[in-house]
């Protein structure tokens, strides 16, 4: 798998060159979490009740915001064409792209989530549930997003369409993710929802890169 290492090395080098971009989703998630108390009032019990849900929605929207530049820069400088014509299976190329994209966009927001939780008075016991759910959920959303972003590649101002196409596919992830935090808050068993998401992740780790590769070939043809 020397090619896969070469792909990873190249994508991480690119990530390092554009590490400033990592701030974009992070600041966006922070802003959403700041807007919420301004709208709802600073009364702790009310904020604590919706903290998990707000952080989940902030994560989802931040991921959606930066989904478009997963392939965009490679398309514009012609390197995507070279990747399509390289003797490497395209799903592998996409897997490495999604992994690095997740590292640059979802991981920073994940790392700042404890801070967001404090700001919204999330009960301490719920933080591990939130972090676990968000880790699995953000991977799921990056994989699903890779398929949707591939389909909208040939379109110029595709931001809104991308969101419209991705949201229905994100509904199950959001429901189980935010639902697990809510169940934990009620003292109900919450691990089941996380296991369901892990099952989805195991499935999508194989299916999504292949589906995104097919979608890419369709969109570019």
């Amino acid at each position: 798998m020397a090619e896969f290492r070469a792909l990873l090395r190249r994508d991480t080098a690119l990530m390092w060159q554009r590490r400033g971009d990592a701030a974009q989703p992070l600041l966006f998630a922070l802003m959403v979490c700041v807007m919420f108390p301004l709208a709802l009032g600073s009364e702790p019990t009310r904020l604590a009740q919706s903290a998990g849900a707000v952080i989940w929605v902030a994560h989802l929207l931040a991921g959606l915001l930066v989904l478009d530049n997963l392939y965009r820069s490679d398309l514009e400088d012609g390197s995507l064409e070279q990747l399509l014509l390289a003797p490497v299976p395209l799903p592998l190329v996409i897997a490495s792209k999604v992994l690095v994209h997740w590292l640059t966009t979802a991981l920073p927001v994940l790392l700042v989530t404890p801070l967001l939780a404090q700001m919204l008075f999330l009960p301490d016991g719920l933080l591990p549930v939130l972090m676990l759910g968000l880790t699995v959920g953000s991977l799921l959303m990056s994989l699903i997003g890779a398929v949707v972003a591939a389909l909208t590649l040939g379109i110029r101002r595709s931001g809104m369409l991308l969101a419209l196409m991705a949201l229905p596919l994100y509904v199950p992830v959001l429901v189980f993710g935010a639902g697990s935090v809510w169940s934990a808050a009620q003292g109900l068993p919450w691990l089941g929802a996380i296991w369901l998401m892990c099952a989805g992740l195991a499935l999508l780790l194989v299916l999504a890169p292949w589906a995104a590769a097919t979608a890419l070939r369709l969109a570019l043809s």
Binding site: I155, L161, L164, W182
Partner: protein, 249 residues
Amino acid sequence: MNKIILWFNQTGSPPRFDDFATRWAGPSFLAAMVLMAIGIYGALWAVPADYKQGDSFRILYIHVPAAWMSLSIFVIMAIQSVIALVWRIKLCELLAMASAPIGALFTAVTLISGAVWGKPTWGTWWTWDPRLTSELVLLFLYLGVIGLYAAIDDRRAAARAAGFLAIVGVVNVPIVHFAVTWWNTLHQGETIRLIGPSKMDSSMMWPLLVLLAATKLWYIGSLLVRARVLNLQQESRKQWALERYGEVK
């Protein structure tokens, strides 16, 4: 295998399809309208009022067929997209992309009738009933497919991409339904069965069956007209289109 594709390509050839659609669109609409009239008459007058709910249950007679059509059209669209993508049959691309707006329309009818039915029953326009919520997500799936098809310039590439999204969407529908049902039990505990035609006894069923048939015929009629439009738009340069629809010199 390629004999079937050959047959499909021949009968599905644009001029032949244009004839077929022209001939059969009118009759299917007519039949649909007749059945609809009978069904609606039955739903509004022939069936006795429900002692508990009064007359608001009559709305279900259009809500249930529309909900059924919104789901089955999405499945049909996905099947046509699979055929179109795997065997590259242009006719199936047209049929799939013509189905999307009709499905979205039936979904809208389901949502509106569901909301209007909810008002007298619960006093609120919108109830987060799991089925209505899944229906709303289905509407977004439809709009995604329609939006993607409209956004790509090359018609064939647009149909392939939107068809692929329809296939991904159809896989997502049961998952959303499962997730929303779980979500519903999580947040509201055990709720009564909100929309359940099953509790109707058989004497009140016939308008429902008539309307189910009516909406199917309506779909076929609308599909034929819409597919014919897409066909003509794509084939507008070809000789047969110019001869058939050009000015008679």
